[in-house]
Every structure is written in structure tokens, then in C-alpha cells.
């Protein structure tokens, strides 16, 4: 995608300025007057609405905490993630190890903080992959219609009927080692290769709902009068697509993308839990569950803590998505 995707407040707010490169002085003056009147933007309204949704706010707080804890916490927290100490194997909660230790005596809290980065990053990046692919396919199909539309929609239908879970398992198992080796040689980090593979597979199997959503919104929006107006003053096709139509269909895309992050975190954890995602020496929340699954009698904390982290993160993301859905619904504002 080479076009500039303008998702800033100005693009989505009430459109006062002309779209041409030269802005007449008169118009600029009125725009300033508007600002002194403390204009309420669409995003301001959405935020006001969002704050009223208590559980969504709670979700936002929890999610922010998770992100901060995993990205900053593991730098502050003193324990190493791979400090093997058999004398402290499967220890329960203590002052030294607040969440206990696993079978190799490694500190569980440190591994949760460190691994959380991977789990969160996989969730966010694969949701972005699905978002970009889905939006591009949907936008082109909905904007141009005709042959492009039917070809792209057939393609989307094919992806929808792919057997998702088996394919996910097969691809990540068969290609994991190759990606690991290639990235290890090329960039000196094999884990990055596994990350890229997993993000790519999850993203590529989840863009279809977004594509359908975007296509439907584009189809209905491109017939509106303001698009006709923009066309009549000579707006180019990319400008029509990305400046005029896209900001108006953004709300459902944002909600879908938010919920997609939670779904992707679950998928990655499931993959690693089955032993087909990240290798077990790389702690992610899912691979910690994989390591814990035969040891429930000895060390239940090994499973309970990472599992709770997955649950809390996904729950908070789902509540944020719920709040966004309400906040971005124009029928509910004011």
C-alpha cells in the first residue's frame, strides 16, 4: 500500500477544508474561528462516550497495565528468565519467587513478564496484518466493483472455507524450523523467524471478515452525495478511497481490529500450548502452559499464572472492543 492512509482526527472530523492542495485564506480564517468555539470532534465524542462504559475503561486500565508490566516490568524485575536452579525446582510462592518456579527452577514471574511481550506483540502485529490485508482487499473490491469485486470476493470466499485450525497447525509445524534457521543465519535471531511465521499465518487466516465489512461499507458509502461532490471537484481515485470514504467506514474496522487482537493472542497461545508454536525454551504464555501441562499435581502455579494472564488480557481487550463499538456508533453520541 503506497497511498497515505490518513486516520488522524482531521480526516474523520467534520470536513471543513477543501481537498485541494491550495487552501484559500478566507477558509482558513473561518476554521480558526471554529477552533475558538471549542469544537467537539468525532473522536472527542467517542472518547466521552467510551469513558462512560465502566467495564471498557477497566479493560483499558488492565490492558495498559499488562503492556507496561511486560515491556518495562521485565527490565526492572531482577530475576533472570533462564536461571536454572534444580534445588529450587517447582517451588511454590515465596518472597524470592512471587509466582513460584517451574520444573527447572526458573522464576515464573520473570518468564511471564518476558513472555508476555511476545504474546502481546503477536496479538497486535497479526491483527494489524489482518487489518491491512482485509482493508485493502475490501476497499478495492467495494470501490471498483465489477470484475475486481467478484474476483476478490471469490478469493475471500476461498479463504473463508479453508480449514483454519488444521492449516494453522500444519503450516507452523512444517515451516517453523526453516524460518528459524533462515532468520538465524540472516538476522542472527531465530525466534524472530518463528515470530514472523506465526504472525503471518494468523494474519493471513483472519483478514476475511474485515474484507467483507470494508467492502460492504465502501459499496454503500461510494454512492453518497459527498462522494459525488468530491468526485465533481476532481478528487483522484486514491484520494476518494482513502481520504473521503475510508475515514467514514473506520468505526467497524477499528472494533473488528480490536477484537482481532484478543483472538490472535488466543490463537498463538493455543498453538504454543499444542507444542506447535514458539519452542518451549522461549517463554510465551502459551508455551508456559505447554511446559506445565503434565505437572498439575506438582506445580499448579505453573499453569494458573500464565493462563490467568491470557484470560485477563483477552477479557480486557474484548471489553475495550465492546466499549469502542458503543462509543463509535454515531446514533449513540451527544
Amino acid at each position: 500500500m503506497t497511498q497515505r492512509v490518513d486516520v488522524g482526527p482531521a480526516a474523520a472530523g467534520p470536513r471543513l477544508e477543501s481537498t485541494g492542495p491550495v487552501e484559500p485564506a478566507v477558509e482558513r480564517a473561518t476554521a480558526i474561528d471554529f477552533r475558538t468555539q471549542k469544537q467537539r470532534s468525532l473522536w472527542g465524542n467517542a472518547w466521552r462516550q467510551f469513558r462512560r462504559h465502566k467495564l471498557a475503561m477497566a479493560g483499558l486500565v488492565v490492558f495498559t497495565f499488562m503492556v507496561l508490566a511486560t515491556f518495562i516490568g521485565s527490565a526492572i524485575y531482577p530475576q533472570a528468565i533462564d536461571d536454572i536452579d534444580f534445588s529450587a525446582s517447582s517451588g511454590s510462592l515465596s518472597r524470592e519467587h512471587p509466582m513460584g518456579t517451574d520444573s527447572l527452577g526458573q522464576d515464573i514471574l520473570a518468564r511471564i513478564l518476558w513472555g508476555g511481550r511476545i504474546s502481546l506483540a503477536v496479538g497486535i502485529v497479526s491483527a494489524v496484518v489482518a487489518l491491512v490485508v482485509g482493508t485493502s482487499v475490501g476497499a478495492v473490491a467495494g470501490f471498483f466493483g465489477g470484475v475486481a469485486d467478484s474476483a476478490l470476493m471469490r478469493f475471500t470466499d476461498l479463504f473463508i472455507s479453508l480449514p483454519q485450525i488444521p492449516l494453522l497447525l500444519v503450516v507452523s509445524f512444517l515451516y517453523r524450523q526453516a524460518f528459524y534457521n533462515y532468520f538465524d543465519k540472516r538476522f542472527g535471531s531465530g525466534v524472530l523467524g518463528v515470530f514472523v511465521l506465526i504472525v503471518f499465518v494468523i494474519g493471513i487466516l483472519n483478514w476475511m471478515p474485515t474484507a467483507r465489512l470494508v467492502r460492504a461499507s465502501f459499496l454503500s458509502t461510494r454512492e453518497k452525495e459527498f462522494i459525488e461532490a468530491a468526485r465533481s471537484i476532481g478528487a483522484s481515485q486514491p484520494s476518494l478511497m482513502f481520504r473521503h470514504i475510508l475515514p467514514n467506514v473506520l468505526s467497524p474496522i477499528i472494533v473488528a481490529a480490536t477484537l482481532g487482537v484478543g483472538a490472535a493472542i488466543i490463537t498463538e497461545s493455543a498453538l504454543s500450548f499444542l507444542g506447535l508454536g514458539f519452542p518451549s525454551d522461549i517463554p510465551t504464555w502459551g508455551s508456559m502452559l505447554y511446559a506445565a501441562k503434565d505437572r498439575f499435581e506438582i506445580a499448579p502455579q505453573e499453569a494458573i499464572f500464565p493462563g490467568t494472564m491470557i484470560f485477563l488480557t483477552v477479557l480486557s481487550i474484548n471489553y475495550i472492543g465492546d466499549g469502542l463499538r458503543d462509543a463509535l456508533d454515531p446514533r449513540k453520541t451527544l
Binding site: L162, P163, G262, F273, L274, K293, F296, G307, F311
Partner: protein
């Protein structure tokens, strides 16, 4: 309707062919060459090796290999599993009953929970019942089955010692079988109940505010008759199609629960097959699930048209 059906079936066949090509391609171009991986596999006896090599023509170019696989698949010859050395068809038939029993009961449990709760939730919108139900649906929707399963095992098997946590297919007798099925059925059942409750509630909310429901009330019908025969009957239409679409997903979900509780079903066979690069097994299960997805897509559309006279496909 007839023409619509024929067109749908034709499209389905074309997309199944495309899917089988995608899946076969992924296996064929995978590094480490899983298609010929059995050549190094000491479990494979030489005569079987020769047979497969001949049948699949492993030295042929990939499209030729695909054509050979496709023709033998169509003939009902699904080849022999590399590891269990059984014909894949028999192997799958042996694994299938457990999966259907567990996943099927879970699905029925989910439907039985979701439909009344979703309906009551919608009728008494914003009541305490509704709030509790929607909160639980939200929690159930956000908890991954592999974590809820682990929690149940820790509570009921490890701490309380009430239920066994390894599924034993040799167990006989009704009660021991029920006992070892309770946890997997609940984990899967509650997960699908959480999803269905949300659909049922939304669908019921839409119907209940419509004019014909008010008409039914103003005719003086009893509330129960209005709810059950007028509102719920119509609210069920989209829910039925969603139920049809979820059936193939059951087999995907079974992969995880069968791994947690070590149930020797289809999902377990898939994981084992992937782990040992047992291509015929992986291919058969993956493609089997693809067939289910495509078939139930058509079924859902047809069900929609049959149940709702307002829908007419041209």
C-alpha cells in the same frame, strides 16, 4: 431455488478442489519434504514404502503428484498411515466415534443452555438476570478452552480427586464413561454456549420489538404463547444457521480439548499425525474438515431459505 442450489453445489466443488490444492501444496513444498519424509522413517516397512512411492509418484513434479493423490482419494483409497500402518480410512473411523460423542454432547449442551438463557435475557433486558447472563457469556467467550480445561483439571482432579483427568478409551460401563466425559463436555459446551447466548439474545432483542409481537400481545394472547410461538420461533432462524456453521468448528475445537484431556479422537490423531509427519492422515483430516466447512455453508444457506419465507434465492 433449484438453480440456486445447483450453482452453490458447483461453486462448492470448485472451492473444494482449490482448497485441496492449497493444502496439498503446503505439504508438498514444505522444507524437510514431508511427502517423502517416510523414506527416512524406520517405522515404515519397505514394501509399504515402495507402494506409496509408486502410488504418489514422489519423483514426479508436484502437479502430477497432486493428480495422483486426488484420483486415489476420489476412488476412496486414502492410503495407509505411516505410523499406525492402518488404512487411513479405518484409522479415522476408529477415532471418529469418541470425537463425535464428546463434541456432539458438548454442542447439544451448549444449545440447551444458550437458547433459553439468551431468550430470557432479551425478554428481561437490563434485569439482574440479563446482567448476570451477559457477564457470564462475556467471560466464557474470553476464556480460552485450554485454560478453562486446565482449571477444571486442577480443581476437580488434582485438588478434589473427583474426576479422572486422563480419558481412557478402554473404560467400560456407563457411569465411569460419564465421569471421564464430564470435564471435556463442559469445557467445550460452555464455550459454545457463551457464543450462542450472545447471538440468541441479540436476535431475540431484534424480534421482540417488532410489530407482529405487539399485535400478538394486543390480541390478548398469553405472554408465554407470544414469547415461544411468535418471538422465539422467528428469533431462532438466524441462530439455526449459526449453529449449522459451527458444526465444522467443533472438530477444530476438539483438537485442543482432546489434547488437554488426552482423548484419542480425531483432533488427537491430527496432532499426532503432524508430529510424525504422517501425511496421509494429516491430509485426510484436514481435507475432511474442509469438506464439512463447505457443506455446512450450503446447509446454513438452505436452512435459512427453508425457515424464513421472506428469503428467496434467485
Amino acid at each position: 431455488m433449484g438453480r440456486y442450489l445447483i450453482r452453490r453445489v458447483l461453486i462448492s466443488i470448485v472451492s473444494l478442489i482449490a482448497i485441496s490444492m492449497v493444502v496439498f501444496g503446503i505439504l508438498a513444498i514444505a522444507p524437510g519434504d514431508p511427502l517423502s519424509g517416510f523414506a527416512q522413517n524406520p517405522n515404515v516397512p519397505p514394501e509399504l514404502r515402495a507402494q506409496i512411492r509408486h502410488k504418489m509418484g514422489l519423483d514426479d513434479p508436484i502437479p502430477v503428484q497432486y493428480a495422483k493423490w486426488a484420483t486415489s482419494y476420489m476412488r476412496g483409497d486414502w492410503m495407509v498411515s505411516y505410523t499406525s500402518r492402518m488404512p487411513v480410512r479405518d484409522y479415522i473411523m476408529q477415532r471418529l466415534p469418541v470425537t463425535i460423542r464428546i463434541s456432539g454432547s458438548a454442542f447439544i449442551l451448549g444449545i440447551l443452555i444458550a437458547i433459553p438463557i439468551g431468550a430470557i435475557s432479551a425478554i428481561k433486558q437490563y434485569s439482574l438476570f440479563d446482567q448476570v447472563a451477559t457477564t457470564f457469556a462475556f467471560l466464557g467467550f474470553s476464556i480460552p478452552t485450554f485454560f478453562s480445561g486446565i482449571l477444571l483439571i486442577i480443581i476437580f482432579s488434582v485438588k478434589l480427586g473427583w474426576l479422572p483427568f486422563v480419558y481412557d478409551s478402554e473404560v467400560t460401563g456407563f457411569w465411569p464413561n460419564v465421569k471421564q466425559s464430564i470435564m471435556p463436555v463442559f469445557v467445550l459446551g460452555l464455550a459454545s454456549a457463551a457464543q450462542l447466548t450472545r447471538f440468541m439474545r441479540a436476535s431475540m432483542l431484534e424480534v421482540i420489538s417488532q410489530d407482529f409481537v405487539r399485535t400478538a400481545r394486543s390480541k390478548g394472547l398469553r405472554e408465554r404463547a407470544v414469547v415461544v410461538f411468535h418471538a422465539m420461533r422467528n428469533a431462532m432462524i438466524p441462530v439455526v444457521t449459526i449453529i449449522a456453521l459451527q458444526i465444522p468448528e467443533l472438530f477444530g475445537g476438539a483438537v485442543i480439548t482432546e489434547q488437554i484431556f488426552r482423548i484419542p479422537g480425531i483432533g488427537r490423531a491430527l496432532i499426532d499425525g503432524i508430529g510424525s509427519k504422517d501425511v496421509p492422515v494429516v491430509m485426510a483430516i484436514t481435507f475432511g474438515i474442509a469438506v464439512l466447512v463447505v457443506v455446512f455453508n450450503v446447509v446454513a444457506d438452505l436452512a435459512y431459505a427453508l425457515l424464513d419465507p421472506r428469503i428467496r434465492y434467485a
